[in-house]
Symmetry: C2
């Protein structure tokens, strides 16, 4: 008898028919004798409707009240799923974030989980009932309703699985698992049977949308095995787990791309200490997240600084750095949205040399110019012109042997 936490996203619970599908899946597991905790999101579209209502009042609704509003989305889903399960003869009991409690800090609309009380859920499971839990939401120490931000239901599910000491956390989605790269871009993409937390973190951070980064961080911290799988079939998906020896054999596990960043260059600034801090300090104050950063020294002691930011933050970025650049007597500011960031990820890089060099060579052979480079222990990212995105992904997928069913050992 296993204790399993299942999480279903908004598409999987999009209407009462789909909720019935979820209920049948839960019922099957329950009938097999497992203890089941189901974490659900708001029905797809529901959250957007709520946001639109609030935005029709004001562009900047009070965050505390937005959380009161948004949290009704999952509350509707848990009630409908519990009603459906009960109607099928499966004992079930719903819990809001406040009822559990999923304790968070007070950062409304982007709260972080600090504790999960498990008494209520454990009591329900001990009664042989299914616990149906609202994802995405929690309660702060003063009793205010909080939400975790978009995609927070993954984090809810993993945090609850960690607190319960669950055997696994199943994340149901509309794809079969984690792929070597986006199958829409690269027909040779292959579903991975397993991947390490660190690789998943790197892939998520560079554009793979399967799992929320915070949920993977939680899973890694508490050692919760995640099973990413489809809610539309019974296939085995991808296990996200602790790194093991076999993973080291695989140099590159996946390739991700991100076309939602923009590149900003500040050229001709004096090469003196504190310049970088000045620019990035100003951006940080505006909560603009800077990704890849490259600094190089040109002629005459002048430096140029190039970095990427989300395209949605580009105009704000330019507003912020203009006065700073003026103050620094920079010669030029330029921006470019037509870029893509291509990343290869794999724990095998730690023990294999020449992986980055191979990536550069493969891209160069296709005439793809590399604009920026950034590396971590298990990742190499290259910023290239956007028009080469598909080409780059496909040639790298081939070059690192990702299409094969066997591990790509060099």
């Amino acid at each position: 008898m296993a204790l399993v936490v299942q999480k279903y996203g908004g598409t999987s619970v999009g209407d009462v028919e789909r909720i019935a599908n979820v209920a049948r899946r839960v019922a099957k597991r329950h009938a097999e004798g497992d203890n089941v905790v189901v974490v659900v999101s708001a029905m797809s579209g529901h959250t957007d409707n709520l946001i639109n209502m609030a935005n029709s009042i004001t562009e900047r609704p009070e965050p505390r009240e937005m959380d009161v509003l948004m949290s009704t989305g999952e509350q509707v889903t848990i009630a409908l799923l519990a009603i459906t399960l009960r109607n099928m003869g499966i004992p079930a009991r719903s819990f809001t974030g406040s009822q559990i409690k999923v304790v968070t800090d007070s950062a409304h609309t982007r709260a972080r989980i600090s504790d999960v009380e498990t008494g209520g859920i454990k009591g329900t499971l001990a009664n042989g009932e299914v616990a149906v839990v609202a994802g995405f939401q929690g309660v702060d120490p003063s009793g205010n309703i909080t939400t975790l931000g978009r995609g927070g239901s993954d984090t809810s599910a993993v945090a609850i699985a960690a607190a319960l000491g669950a055997d696994s956390c199943e994340i149901y989605t509309d794809v079969d698992g984690v792929y070597t790269t986006d199958p829409n871009l690269c027909p040779k993409a292959r579903k991975l049977d397993k991947i390490s937390y660190d690789e998943m973190l790197e892939l998520a951070s560079v554009g793979a949308k399967v799992l929320q980064i915070r949920s993977v961080e939680f899973a890694k911290k508490y050692g919760v095995p995640i099973h990413v799988r489809s809610s539309f079939n019974e296939n085995e998906g991808t296990w996200v787990v602790e790194e093991d020896d076999s993973m080291e054999q695989v140099i590159v596990s996946g390739i991700a791309y991100d076309r939602k960043e923009a590149k900003v260059s500040v050229k001709g600034v004096p090469d003196k200490p504190g310049i970088v801090a000045k620019i990035f300090g100003a951006l940080s104050e505006e909560n603009i997240v800077v990704d890849v950063i490259v600094q190089d020294i040109g002629e005459g002691g002048k430096a140029s600084l190039t970095f990427t930011v989300p395209q949605t933050d580009l105009s704000k970025t330019l507003d912020v750095i203009k006065p700073v650049a003026d103050e620094l007597e920079a010669e030029e500011i330029s921006a470019n949205k037509e870029i893509a960031k291509i990343s290869i990820v794999g724990v095998g890089m730690r023990s294999h040399a020449g992986v980055a060099a191979k990536m550069f060579k493969v891209l160069a052979a296709e005439g793809v110019n590399i604009l920026m480079i950034s590396t971590s222990e298990i990742k190499v990212s290259c910023v290239i012109e956007e028009k080469y995105t598909e080409l780059a992904v496909r040639v790298l997928h081939d070059a690192f042997g990702l299409e094969g069913p066997a591990p790509n050992i060099e």
Copy 2:
């Protein structure tokens, strides 16, 4: 500086424009220096949508989960109203029933309030903020979400006003107040300036839809003055208050009618002890509420029993009493939906004789046959043929001098 509880129903908060109207009204009162607690219902139509979703799953959704579902309705409204108030520069803070807490028993979908904690609201008011409260909902001692049943927001408002020791509870609705009778039926109907709790209770129990009975019971028990008024203008409405001497001068305060009952007769039953108990015991077990009851002894020691039930319960009633009537060897069961109950209500009846006789005389003079009669200390009800409803209301309204601006003193 007064402490006022305002309650706005589903029509008054039906969309964001109407919510803005409510917010302006609240803001005005707040600007005058009063402490304001606003209790709101779900946006009109919202609750029905939720019920329809649940009913598309099953006709009998689990009551506990229905409450989880339904309570999202008011939660959406409190969030939107608080967002609107904050956007207007009025400090405001929303509270769900669980957050306050409005403690109820565990009778899901029709819970009764046992206690209202006021710490949170008082703290909010002390900060100069408006408290925006979800009506209709509460929480049981185990932390389960409960709802009070349709119209429960009135009861929430009065209970919260009682717990806070508010100076008054304003119930905003789409009419100007309590009328001597339904203005749609009788053009001479006049708005009452004030009415006693007992009269309001009788009027509500016999078909006047302005206030929920339980809210009036609460107001009477705790001496909360209720001000029923329109959310669409600034007119004074009707005060529902303790009885005072001037009220005794008025014999009849209002006339109500109810066309939603059906009359059932069981004829030719043996006139023996325990017969009535047998029939009504069976109905009670099915939660069928019996209203007017008349028993009379015919020839040969046989009795006939006539009573009214809600039309919606008629077929169930007949199913229930058929076997009982067979067992009692009753001669005949008959039913009639084409009836109406006309009631005159007034505390002056206590000190004035002949009120019922006058009612019968007035109806007889118009050829209206009286099928059943029922009286209380301050009410006389006659069941008549439905087709005479308007005629009966109008002639009684005239006969008891209700149209005049002055009290109708005999």
